[in-house]
């Protein structure tokens, strides 16, 4: 692999363009109906690594066959082989294979072979422990067996895994979007109830302002046009609610006005927040960051090398990306490839301590202690003290028969971080010297670089940028309308809010008011309290969507929607029970 020469540069540029196109597939650039296939692996793999990967393919097929034949010994042997193979190439887990095992387990449970299903789930747990998919499958198996308690327990465990795993970012984003949605809808309903309460007064004020110069029928028509006209505009509901909130401002109490202001601010903040969350998710799900996350967790999935190649072509000159690629090569045992990329990284970052240590380790493995010590000394004498550098230096000195220097270096290492040194000494390490995946601490840098590299497609991605100013203008206009209408109202009658006599109401109306105490609260001038009742009702109503507004989590067997729906039903039942009991007490009084 080289990076010089005009022909190679042109090829690299074309690769970059193709990789950008593939990478942006998940960043919502408007794709056509048929995209080109994903490019083959361009990531260099040594022969031994390839052989290991071929062995993984074979062991997997062996495992699948053995489990279907209920040959437990052979299946266990295949599983052990897979574990060994993963370790050989520096990884720990195979998430794709775990998903395959989970799928097998569901199939076995569907055909009532629960014993086999449990073995397959156990294998999934070995192949990639802690997956929520496995726990959801366990719940499905338990459910098929008729064990409700185990199913519930497994579901709870699955949720806990999902909330503690990589999926949590997406789930968290969904919950945030759900919260914003609830607050927005509650604010809109608050304006609606306020309008129901004071609508007549607004109409009277407008009519009284228009009717002396105009005949009453014309004034009425104009009032209807003013009030209902905004609905005909694009985003008509938004305009109508903003206008209504402005007109009702003057009739609202102080606390109600505070709620109106909160609603206006929410209309401004929600698109911005949604856009930020979406960009973060897009980035997290992009091939380069997917590969980064997998490498961080030691999980080798089928498309890992392709995704890593996308990173390399998207950020060919960025030191953090180079370091990541080099770390992967080193993890795979491809030291030569790692070394050449580390040297390139060092060119841009001469004091990158993990790279220096890794290069030193390369030479140490080859027995070139002078060269190794050269790198270790550079790392040890860098501005940032590193116990690992001094520790490696002590080993280098020792192997070069420089025992005094070795002792001094070890002392220095202990001085900087004695506890870590003790751990290193106690831990078996085939390389003896310490190596580091320094790129794993540079995730933030990688994300920023990727965003910069893809900035040109911001227009295609879209966002609330343009509408932000429109939203601010709308809020300012609402305030202006509120002020103007308030002045108008002072000249007109101060019509009191009509209040229905409690005892004259029908049963439907009475019970509706009891179920939704916000109605009475708003009539009585309450603001935040009435609004929070609406927030509660909206929260319960929208709860089924709470986990999925930012997209369905990529978890096989995800039953978050069912769980949220059950919670919503329970919450609503509790709420209604409390309101009905309170209502019956009111009836008796």
């Amino acid at each position: 692999m080289t990076s010089s020469g005009s022909a190679t540069s042109r090829a690299a540029a074309s690769f970059r363009r193709a990789a950008l196109g593939a990478a942006l597939a998940l960043l919502a650039a408007a794709p056509s109906a048929a995209q080109s296939p994903v490019t083959p692996i361009e990531f260099e793999l040594s022969r031994s690594v390839q052989q290991t990967l071929v062995r993984v393919q074979e062991l997997w097929l062996q495992w699948v066959g053995a489990t279907l034949q209920d040959n437990r010994a052979r299946a266990d042997e295949a599983l052990r082989g897979l574990t060994v193979a993963a370790r050989e190439i520096g990884f720990a887990h195979f998430p794709d294979l775990a998903l395959g095992a989970v799928a097998q387990a569901r199939q076995s449970a569907a055909s009532n072979n629960f014993e086999r299903a449990r073995r397959q789930l156990a294998a999934a747990e070995v192949l990639d422990p802690g997956r929520p998919d496995t726990a959801f499958a366990e719940a499905a198996v338990a459910h098929a067996e008729g064990s409700w308690f185990r199913a519930a327990w497994a579901t709870a465990r699955a949720l806990s895994r999902a909330l503690g795993g990589p999926e949590r970012q997406q789930i968290f984003s969904s919950v945030v979007l759900w919260s914003l949605l609830v607050l927005l809808v509650a604010s809109a309903l608050f304006v609606g109830f306020l309008a129901a309460n004071h609508g007549r007064s607004v109409v009277r004020v407008l009519s009284s302002a228009l009717s002396p110069p105009l005949p009453s029928w014309a004034a009425a028509g104009l009032v209807a046009f003013l009030v209902l006209g905004p609905l005909a505009l694009p985003s008509g509901l938004y305009w109508a609610l903003m206008l209504a909130s402005a007109l009702l401002w003057t009739f609202a109490t102080k606390s109600q006005r505070a709620v109106l202001v909160v609603g206006w601010l929410l209309t401004l903040a929600t698109p911005w927040a949604t856009d930020v969350l979406q960009r973060q998710l897009s980035l997290a799900h992009s091939p380069p960051m997917r590969a980064f996350a997998a490498f961080e967790q030691g999980r080798l999935y089928g498309g890992f090398f392709s995704d890593l190649h996308v990173l390399r072509t998207a950020l060919p000159e960025v030191p953090a990306a180079l370091e990541l690629v080099a770390d992967v090569h080193r993890t795979l045992g491809q030291w030569e490839l790692a070394r050449s990329i580390y040297r390139r990284t060092l060119y841009d970052e001469p004091e990158n301590i993990p790279v220096l240590l890794n290069l030193g380790a390369y030479h140490f493995r080859k027995g070139a202690y002078a060269a190794a010590n050269g790198y270790f000394e550079r790392a040890a004498h860098s501005p940032h003290p590193s116990a690992a550098a001094w520790y490696n230096l002590s080993l280098g000195y020792s192997d070069a028969y420089m025992f005094d220097e070795s002792r001094n270096a070890l002392t220095e290492a202990r001085r900087i971080d004695g506890a870590a040194v003790d751990v290193w000494i106690a831990t078996a390490n085939p390389d003896r010297v310490l190596t580091f995946n320094g790129s794993l601490g540079r995730g933030k840098t990688l994300r920023e670089e990727l965003v910069t590299a893809w900035q040109g497609d911001r227009a295609a991605i879209g966002g609330p940028g343009d509408s932000r100013w429109m939203g601010i203008a709308a809020v300012v206009a609402a305030l202006a309308v509120a002020l103007g209408f308030g002045l108008l109202r002072k000249r007109a009658i101060q019509a009191p809010a009509p209040r229905e006599e409690a005892q004259g109401r029908s049963a439907v109306v009475r019970w509706t008011r009891r179920m939704v105490p916000a109605i009475d609260g708003i009539e009585a001038g309450s603001g935040p309290l009435a609004w929070s009742n609406l927030v509660l009702l909206c929260a319960l109503g929208l709860l089924p969507q709470s986990f999925e507004l930012a997209g369905d989590p990529p978890v096989a067997g995800w039953s978050g929607r069912a769980i949220a729906t059950a919670l919503a039903a329970l919450g609503m039942a509790t709420y209604l029970t409390i309101r009905i009991r309170s209502g019956w007490r009111g009836e008796e009084e």
Binding site: L177, T270, G462, L542, G551, P554
Partner: protein, 445 residues
């Protein structure tokens, strides 16, 4: 508006009703011959009452004794002990668990009512209302509604001597008086915008319902039963009609022969300075108000009652289809909405891709269609459709597949994936390894 005047001209119940209907907050002071009472209103409801010349402690003690919560002797003893503590009496009684908080609040409520009952008996005095943002009252007390107070007071005062002519009695019959005034209904009660005309009497719907049933033969109790309003509302309406001079009692006791002065249903000017102030503001308000809004405007206002429920239905429908219009409510946010929709669609594609890869791992090929993924339980039904509800179609080839929206629908986006580059699925990826052969070279030192 400054509400103040003389009790000889303005009936206290009417003043209380104006404050209630206008949902005023503030303090109404009433100065009688021997005492001054301050009644605190919070949004038109009574929350406290204090009498200047009566000790709060004594009043509370009486109420507690009457309610049976605490004997007079025990109360006196506790009040004595409380003096040295610096604590409020009500807090002290609760702290030492002499009475519960709820019982205390009910007793305070009772005390408030008793003071109001007392002032409702006054025929002479001055009143003034001081409006404000908020008033001080005992936290947690259930406010008293003016109407409830008046109805209850009416019942209690009816049995007192000297009030026979002012309050209705169940065993009497009543007749409308023909005094020549036009009678008009005002459904929601009086307020300061109601225009004052000497030849018009304004009555509420309850009062109209009662007035129509008074025939001089049916006793008031029977009218209450027949009207469906209940005794309290019937007697209160009858009381107001009596006060306005619109009805007179007949039956066992005839009304006094001398013409009674015609007390007003509303505060009415009588040539005094205090009264003029009220009249001026009310008249000004009447001139500004339009006589009657146009029926279209009224219909619009009435439709507003159903608005929140219609709005809830619309929002529920919109969110069920896609929450994007609500998350990006402002105009010109099309870019944001589209990006949101696209991202959700691509997330859905990602789920299908994951399922298809798993299928390939197990079967060695891609599924023929999405139905195969559903049958193998690799994909949920929900994930097999576009977030907007359009069916997704999976078309597989040898080592690749394509997802599009259902045929016939305009497809703004799709996905094409294959085994290429996937070391678990693409078995030709390392086919070069097999081609290398020969004897391995071993170097021996």
């Amino acid at each position: 508006m400054a509400l103040e005047g003389d009790l000889a001209l303005f009936r206290l119940p009417d003043i209380l009703q104006i404050i209630a209907q206008q949902r005023k907050t503030g303090i109404l002071t009433v100065q009688g011959k021997s005492d001054i009472l301050a009644v605190s209103f919070q949004v038109g409801e009574i929350v406290a009452a204090d009498a200047l010349n009566q000790s709060f402690d004594e009043l509370l003690g009486e109420v507690l004794a009457r309610r049976g919560s605490l004997s007079r002797e025990r109360f006196a003893e506790l009040a004595e002990r409380q003096h040295g503590t610096g604590e409020r009496l009500v807090d002290y009684l609760v702290d030492i668990r002499a009475i519960g908080r709820d019982e205390l609040l009910e007793s305070l409520r009772d005390l408030t009512y008793r003071l109001l009952l007392e002032v409702l008996r006054w025929r002479e005095g001055q009143f003034k209302f001081y409006g404000g943002e908020e008033v001080a009252y005992e936290e947690g007390i259930r406010p008293l509604r003016v109407e409830d107070v008046l109805m209850r007071a009416l019942r209690e005062l009816a049995n007192e001597p000297g009030r026979v002519d002012a309050v209705p009695h169940g065993f009497l019959t009543y007749l409308p008086t023909a005094d020549g005034r036009a009678i008009r209904s005002i459904p929601n009660g009086f307020d300061e915008s109601t225009p004052l005309e000497p030849e018009v009497a304004w009555i509420t719907s309850d009062e109209r319902a009662i007035l129509e049933r008074l025939d001089g033969r049916t006793v008031a109790e029977a009218v209450a039963r027949n009207s469906g309003l209940g005794e309290d509302r019937t007697f209160y309406a009858l009381y107001r009609l009596l006060q306005a001079g619109l009805v007179r009692p007949v039956g066992d006791r005839e009304a006094p022969a001398e013409p009674s002065r015609r007390p007003a249903a509303l505060p009415r000017p009588a040539g005094r300075v205090e009264a003029l102030r009220v009249e001026r503001e009310v008249v000004e308000a009447a001139h500004l108000a339009p006589a009657t809004p146009h029926p279209l405007a009224l219909a619009l206002a009435r439709a507003a009652r159903l608005l929140p429920f219609a709005l809830a239905a619309v929002l529920a429908f919109v969110i069920a289809r896609s929450p994007a219009p609500v998350l990006f409510p402002a105009p010109a946010a099309d870019g944001g909405r589209e990006a949101y929709e696209r991202l959700r669609r691509l997330e859905r594609f990602g789920l299908i891709d994951q399922a298809a890869r798993t299928f390939h791992l197990l079967e060695g090929r891609y599924p023929v269609g999405i139905e195969e993924l559903l049958a193998r339980d690799l994909l949920s039904r929900r994930a097999s459709v576009d977030p907007r509800g359009s069916e997704l179609v999976l078309r597989s080839e040898v080592d690749a597949y394509q997802i599009v929206l259902s045929s016939g629908a305009a497809s703004p986006s799709g996905l094409r994936e294959g085994v290429f580059g996937n070391f678990l699925l693409d078995h030709r990826l390392f086919s070069g390894l097999e081609e290398e052969g020969g004897v391995p070279l071993v170097l021996v030192d």
